[in-house]
């Protein structure tokens, strides 16, 4: 039995979350903009050394521009908005779950919404633990807002009961872990993209310094250091990989009792396998001479692309056993 008022509340909360995240993006942008006014120490370090300076990662104050109080306040506002957004975002799923009296990840709309929530929460945890990572906020929340809008527009599904195949306790195990893994890989992929951006910026600055010309100041200087970004990408991937492995194994166990075989190269299974391979390659590449740094960051990004492809293409275009809830 569907509780219509709760279902409507869930939809309202979805819109509120999008609004809060959008405001957070604006606040993060403002923080970046006002944070530029006092800078210089980084550039001096770079100019003196002639190489991209990489100050100690865990001591952000050493190499980063001093933050004006106004920027810090804006940053705090942005974080609070993001946190509020995450709360209402969680409310979307809770209300859905209560409206339908089941776990709220039974179709693509709910699954994708949950993945984005995991990504936001992962970012909040990172940003609280290492405040210098807060500055990736705008680069993370902008894709989050975009994803939410696309989810709302194209994946929305009315609250409804689960199809028979999904009525299993494995839904709680397999889909939850897949959601968590995906959400963490999302953050990891963004960190790798920013790492690529940051290393290119560093190279530009270094080239400018070696020729005596000073590179034009850029918002990119406000990003965490390349080393910090690389390490964030790696740590999140290290955290997500066993979860994803577990999700795939749990999926195989479920498939054994639902479809008669634990692995059958269903399109979703195939792409889950491909993603697993790519992330395994990423973790290996990061310790292989010649693959560290930018090449391994690219592999991580490929991993995220594969995850997104697996969500969108496999469910929307190809036909397989993972087609539920209308898509």
């Amino acid at each position: 039995m569907i509780d219509e008022s709760l279902a409507a509340l869930s939809d309202t909360l979805f819109s509120i979350s999008v609004g809060l995240y959008s405001l957070a993006v604006v606040a993060f942008c403002a923080e970046l903009a006002f944070g530029r006014s006092v800078r210089g120490r980084t550039e001096q370090l770079v100019a003196a050394g002639g190489v991209p300076a990489q100050p100690p990662v865990d001591a952000p104050a050493a190499g980063e521009p001093v933050e004006p109080a106004r920027a810090r306040r804006l940053g705090l506002v942005a974080m609070v908005l993001t946190g509020l957004g995450a709360v209402t975002h969680a409310g979307v799923l809770v209300a859905r779950g209560m409206a339908t009296d089941r776990l709220p990840w039974g179709n693509m709309y709910e699954f994708a919404t949950a993945v984005v929530l995991v990504a936001v929460v992962a970012y909040l945890v990172l940003a609280v633990r290492a405040p210098s990572l807060r500055h990736i906020g705008v680069f993370l929340l902008a894709p989050v807002v975009l994803s939410m809008v696309l989810i709302g527009l194209f994946l929305y599904a009315e609250a409804g009961p689960l199809v028979a195949a999904l009525r299993s306790s494995w839904l709680a195990i397999h889909v939850s872990t897949a959601t968590i893994g995906f959400g963490i890989f999302f953050v990891s992929g963004i960190a790798s993209v920013l790492y690529l951006v940051r290393t290119r910026r560093d190279a530009t600055v270094a080239a400018g310094a070696s020729t005596g010309a000073s590179a034009a100041p850029s918002l990119l200087d406000r990003l965490p250091t390349a080393a910090a970004l690389d390490r964030t990408a790696h740590r999140t991937a290290v955290f997500g990989f066993p979860i994803w492995t577990f999700a795939v194994i749990a999926g195989a166990i479920w498939a054994e009792s639902a479809w008669g075989r634990f692995w059958g190269w269903d399109p979703k299974e195939t792409w889950a396998f491909i993603a697993w391979i790519v992330y395994a390659a990423y973790l290996h590449a990061r310790t292989t001479a010649g693959w560290r740094g930018r090449p391994s960051a690219w592999i991580n990004i490929v991993g995220l692309v594969v995850m997104i492809f697996n969500l969108l293409f496999v469910n929307l275009v190809s036909t397989g056993l993972h087609s539920y809830g209308g898509v």
Partner: protein
């Protein structure tokens, strides 16, 4: 898959005489072996494996749906056969896919086996000797104390043992020293992870060789036994002997599909009775997510549908009742189904054969003369049928689908349509020759599947081991701590240098600080005069502190 290439013995620069052909071949093989087992090769093979799996998801695969492949071949007659020649419709059993993963696993063996041996050896050898310059380690500190050198090292050793380090004392070249190590589980996890992947592959292969599955549509009240000739379709591994199948028989007593208010399927359950090796039948209920597991076999409900029941009355008085054939659901939402009933024998005196082809709607409505279904439950069953008479081609020697007519006989004019009509239950139509066809009822059938995979328990065990190894390798940090005591430069007391090296964690600083603080407190407590002060504490060159996965 060694993370960093170990130093290899350099080839002799100018051999005194040209090596014998045998040695040249051996040398080349060794070089190939080293290239294959290099991490870079493993990475490339990983990528190839990922890329090779892609066509398996984009093109129809025989292992998933033979009819989709046939449809694709019919749609693309030029490129289709070429793709087929390249095994692109059987990607996951193709030789090139196998080549990639076998190379990958050989590469893995070549890397992980030496590493496992090395690790096994290190478990029984004490931690390595301390490096000469401890202050060059990523974390290092120097503490001064009034204690004598050996006593100061005793304190360090105690602190390390409390922290569950494996500790060894040595008389080094530059003074007495302590080496300590912990976190062996990290490398154990690494080795376990990679060896379990091999075990997983073996379990998979075993399951493919000795496993089988058979599918059959069973109407309520009927049953089947576990034998290949009884199944509608079956697939079996090359080492399966058809005689060795378990003697399992299953009867379908009742099938029930339950729907929610909005017609979402809530459950499919089948009441079955089964018997093994001729023992007494046992009744049980199976359903989606809930198969019967008995004697290494599993019985699943994979689908359901309806069989329309017809009766035929010939003009000469002969009647045939209870003729039915399963119609396959074309739309799972409304259970609009499609199929054909073939009646090859219309009794003595008739050479003609008859077929009823068309649609079945469990809750049928006619829209502009077309039959559609609005509900998956059989509330008002209707059929929309074409009746053919003539020659069905069943004895032509060519296999034909039981769910479709042989179009060739129609094209050749041997099989002709004699009626087209929509019938509700109880209604009938009269053919030109006076034969009366009546739609008399509906039966429900279940699609059952029997699966046997002796490898799957191994695969499950191996995948759990993969996960355990992965957790060990990603979560455990391996730490080495070295300490050395020496006389203080100003002559009073001892200077204790401590250094540490960690793999698998970023937060080494705080842990090292806590260690040195504890050591210092213990030194101070041990010495009568707490004169020790931290002399220096430095950061060495940062190592790659994160996990090497392999």
């Amino acid at each position: 898959m060694t993370a960093t290439a170990p130093p290899r013995p350099a080839a002799p620069a100018s051999p005194p005489s040209p090596p014998s052909p045998g040695r040249r071949v051996a040398g080349r093989l060794l070089r190939w072996w080293r290239q294959l087992t290099a991490m870079r090769t493993a990475l490339i093979l990983l990528f190839l494996l990922a890329v090779a799996a892609i066509p398996g998801s984009l093109l129809p695969q025989r292992s998933l749906s033979r009819s989709d492949v046939a449809g694709y071949l019919a749609e693309y007659p030029t490129i289709g056969p070429w793709l087929d020649r390249l095994y692109l419709f059987d990607v996951f059993s193709s030789p090139w896919f196998a080549a990639i993963y076998l190379l990958l696993f050989i590469s893995l063996i070549g890397c992980v086996v030496p590493r496992a041996i090395e690790h096994g050896r290190s478990l029984f050898t004490p931690p390595p000797t301390a490096p000469r310059h401890l202050q060059r380690l990523p974390e290092s500190a120097a503490l001064s104390t009034s204690l004598a050198g050996p006593a100061a090292l005793d304190v360090v050793e105690e602190e390390l043992r409390v922290r569950r380090f494996r500790v060894v004392r040595r008389e080094g070249r530059s003074g007495p020293e302590v080496s300590a190590e912990k976190g062996y589980l990290r490398e154990t996890g690494n080795v376990l992870f990679h060896l379990s992947l091999l075990a997983l592959l073996l379990g998979l292969a075993g399951g493919k060789l000795w496993g089988y599955e058979g599918s059959i549509l069973v109407t309520e009240g009927q049953g089947f036994c576990n034998a290949f000739q009884q199944y509608d379709t079956h697939r079996s591994g090359p080492l399966v002997d058809g005689e060795d199948l378990s003697r399992l028989c299953v009867d379908l007593e009742d099938f029930e599909a339950v729907y929610e208010e909005n017609l979402t399927a809530a459950s499919y359950t089948a009441d079955i009775s089964w018997e093994l090796d001729g023992a007494d039948p046992v009744g049980t209920t199976i359903g989606v997510n809930d198969p019967l597991r008995v004697g290494g076999d599993r019985v699943y409900v994979t689908g359901h549908g309806f069989s329309p029941v017809f009766s035929i009355a010939r003009p000469d008085g002969q009647t045939f009742t209870d003729l039915s054939a399963p119609f396959l659901p074309a739309d799972l939402g409304t259970m609009l189904s499609q199929g054909v009933l073939k009646v090859p024998d219309l009794g003595a005196g008739s050479t003609e054969q008859l077929a009823i082809e068309g649609f079945l709607a469990p809750t049928g409505v006619l829209e502009a003369g077309f039959l559609t279904s609005i509900n998956p439950r059989p509330l008002d069953p209707k059929v929309g049928i074409d009746v053919y008479t003539g020659y069905l081609g069943l004895d032509s020697g060519l296999p034909q689908s039981v769910y479709a007519l042989d179009r060739e006989q129609i094209d050749r004019g041997l099989l002709n349509r004699v009626a087209r009509t929509n019938l509700a239950i109880g209604e009938s139509t009269t053919l030109p020759d006076g034969t009366v066809v009546t739609f008399s009822g509906l039966k429900e059938f279940a699609a059952l599947q029997v699966s046997h995979d002796p490898g799957q328990v191994w695969v499950l065990g191996a995948s759990i081991a993969v996960l355990v190894g992965l957790l060990g390798m990603l979560l455990v940090r391996r730490e080495r701590v070295f300490a050395r005591s020496g006389p203080a430069p100003d002559g009073g007391g001892t200077v204790l240098s401590i250094g540490s090296l960690t793999r698998g964690s970023a937060d080494t600083g705080p842990r090292f600080t806590s260690l040195t603080e504890d050591v210092q407190a213990a030194l101070a407590a041990r010495a009568d005069a707490p004169a020790s002060t931290p002399a220096a504490r430095g950061h060495g060159p940062a190592p790659d502190e994160e996990a090497p996965p392999s």
